[in-house]
């Protein structure tokens, strides 16, 4: 049968599910704290001592809510860093592609797509950067940048059927893979945002 402390720690871990790394760390620290408090209890290490230690510690949900407030800023910073790296890598990949694929034909779309996709992504990134304190604006900027980059990626699908050499195809594949990772990161961030928003509401 689980003790009071074990139940408390399980609850804390559930409430901190938005950041598994933080949950591991905080649960370990809190366990150490609570066990020490029980050992220091003048009335002995009993289930009642566990209950008193947990009561003095405070509600797990309130602690998780405090962590959520801090985590949301950290997650935003990570997302912007990822976005900035993605934009830079996209730019480099596009410049290299133009260098390799520019066949001089007036009908060639590649340089046009690359140029405007990057500008759109850059504008999106800048909007996100300046709106970093407002999640709705940041999200819109992030989505704009991603959408522009994805359009560029889809339009360059001709690369794969054109029999282009591997050193041309590989950077494009790498870029699309990176965008998929970025999208997954964005989806995870949205999920955590939802969890932290719920915790904020619960903690205030």
């Amino acid at each position: 049968m689980a003790g009071v402390i074990d139940e408390y720690l399980a609850g804390l871990r559930r409430d901190l599910a938005f950041d598994p790394g933080l949950a591991d760390r905080l649960v370990a620290e809190v366990e150490d704290h609570l066990r020490e408090a029980v050992e220091a209890d003048p009335r002995g290490a009993t289930p009642d001592a566990e209950r008193r230690a947990v009561e003095r510690f405070g509600l797990a949900r309130e602690i998780a809510a405090q962590c959520a407030r801090d985590a949301i800023d950290r997650q935003a910073r990570r997302t912007w860093a990822t976005l900035a790296i993605a934009v830079v890598v996209t730019f480099v990949a596009m410049r290299l592609r133009v260098t390799w694929l520019d066949d001089g034909s007036p009908l060639s779309l590649a340089p046009l797509v690359d140029r405007y996709a990057f500008i759109a992504a850059l504008v999106g990134g800048l909007v996100a950067w300046f709106a970093r304190r407002q999640s709705a604006g940041a999200l819109l900027g992030c989505a704009l940048g991603l959408a522009a980059s994805i359009v560029a990626g889809v339009l360059r699908a001709d690369l794969f059927g054109s029999g282009a050499p591997p050193w041309v195809v590989l950077p494009a594949v790498a870029e699309i893979a990176m965008l998929v990772v970025l999208l997954a990161h964005l989806a995870g961030w949205l999920r955590r945002l939802k969890q932290t928003a719920a915790l904020r509401r619960a903690g205030t």
Binding site: A28, V30, D32, H33, R35, I63, C67
Partner: protein, 108 residues
């Protein structure tokens, strides 16, 4: 009111040397003459936040025959931040005392 100064209080509690969460809370309680008997759990998010900000560093340690625990230390930036918050607090508390009529306006 205490909530707004929690970071400074935690930094001050670590000024004397590295300590783990439980000891930090005990230090806060005893140095405040039991006045700051805050819910103990509120200190851990603050510790984590201060570490993320580079004001504290931490490491897991296992004392001989003891439990594994995370010990926090003030970084150089943390020391500077504490000095800065102390100055701000001095200005604030002198101003409040002057307003409440127990002291003359500060600086004189």
């Amino acid at each position: 009111m205490l909530k707004g100064h929690l970071d400074a209080i935690v930094l001050a509690a670590l000024e004397a040397g590295p300590a783990h969460g439980y000891a930090i809370i005990e230090t806060i309680r005893s140095r405040s003459g039991e006045t700051f008997d805050l819910p103990e759990g509120t200190v851990y998010p603050a510790l984590h936040r201060l570490e993320q900000a580079g004001l504290l560093s931490s490491a897991w340690t296992t004392p001989p025959g003891g439990r594994r625990r995370r010990v926090y230390s003030l970084t150089r930036a943390g020391g500077a931040a504490l000095a800065q918050r102390r100055k701000a607090w001095d200005r604030f508390s002198h101003a409040v005392e002057a307003l409440l009529g127990r002291k003359r306006a500060w600086p004189a």
